[in-house]
Symmetry: C2
Subunit: 150 residues, 2 copies
């Protein structure tokens, strides 16, 4: 009633960016205790999922899928390497790129991480349809936001 269209816009925008921001932190808080048992952080877990889906990727390929820069990934991957989960080798066919492969230990971890997604999904309290719609909306949002920059 008291809102002008402009106030409405400003409010929505403020809370949209913030609702994404704080929901991201909330996810982190839920994942953290579960992943601690696996010796992974939340971003490390996401990288491992990408590798479980598609092993032996270049840093560049992982970066494109995760929307992360090499300045973020290089140290993260070195930590995964130090924990014995992945190996980092220069590609013989193109020495500029580094290929990331799962070690046996890294492949093993997949089994131990098997029930994490379901636990998190239950923590969201969402039904499948709402979750699907949220995923669709957020991916479209991200692509719009990123698209405007390129």
């Amino acid at each position: 009633m008291s809102d002008t269209p402009k106030d409405d816009l400003l409010d929505i925008d403020k809370f949209l960016c913030f609702s994404v921001y704080s929901a991201g932190h909330a996810f982190n808080r839920v994942y953290k205790p579960m992943l601690e048992a696996l010796g992974l952080t939340y971003p490390q877990y996401l990288v491992m999922v990408a590798l479980w889906q598609d092993d032996n990727q270049s840093v560049r390929s992982i970066g494109e899928k995760m929307y992360l820069e090499s300045s973020t990934l290089t140290p993260l991957l070195k930590r995964l390497e130090a924990n014995g989960l992945v190996s980092r080798k220069r590609d013989p066919k193109d020495e500029r790129s580094v290929r990331i492969s799962l070690t046996d230990k890294g492949k093993e971890l997949r089994k131990q991480a098997e029930d994490v997604p379901l636990c998190v999904f239950e923590a969201t309290g969402l039904d499948i349809e709402t979750a699907k719609r949220l995923v669709r909306d957020l991916r479209a949002l991200r692509d719009r936001l990123d698209g405007g920059l390129s």
Copy 2:
């Protein structure tokens, strides 16, 4: 066809956490160049918005609204203080708490930041109804995720 209900669940969950994660980064990327002109980072901007709405808050109060710990806010607020945007003073009525107040410069900045929200909203490419629904869903999601921990 090939998806069992379980696969379905796992996929949705994986992408829900990731879609929030990557949308958060995308927002950051859109805000960054706009806020650079104001000398603010994205989290600093959110704190300033909280103060523009309600001046002279305690660190604790800001932390509750932002879902951030004092270990995050203290250095952030010191940077805002160093930039002359806020003042930090112990509350005489309770010397444990620190009250954060906007300086004149901090109040001035509000005008310069006035058109940021609309620019960002336009970058989202969303209509008001979709944005409102997203905000509602994400806040509910965050509260569910956080609620399970307490």
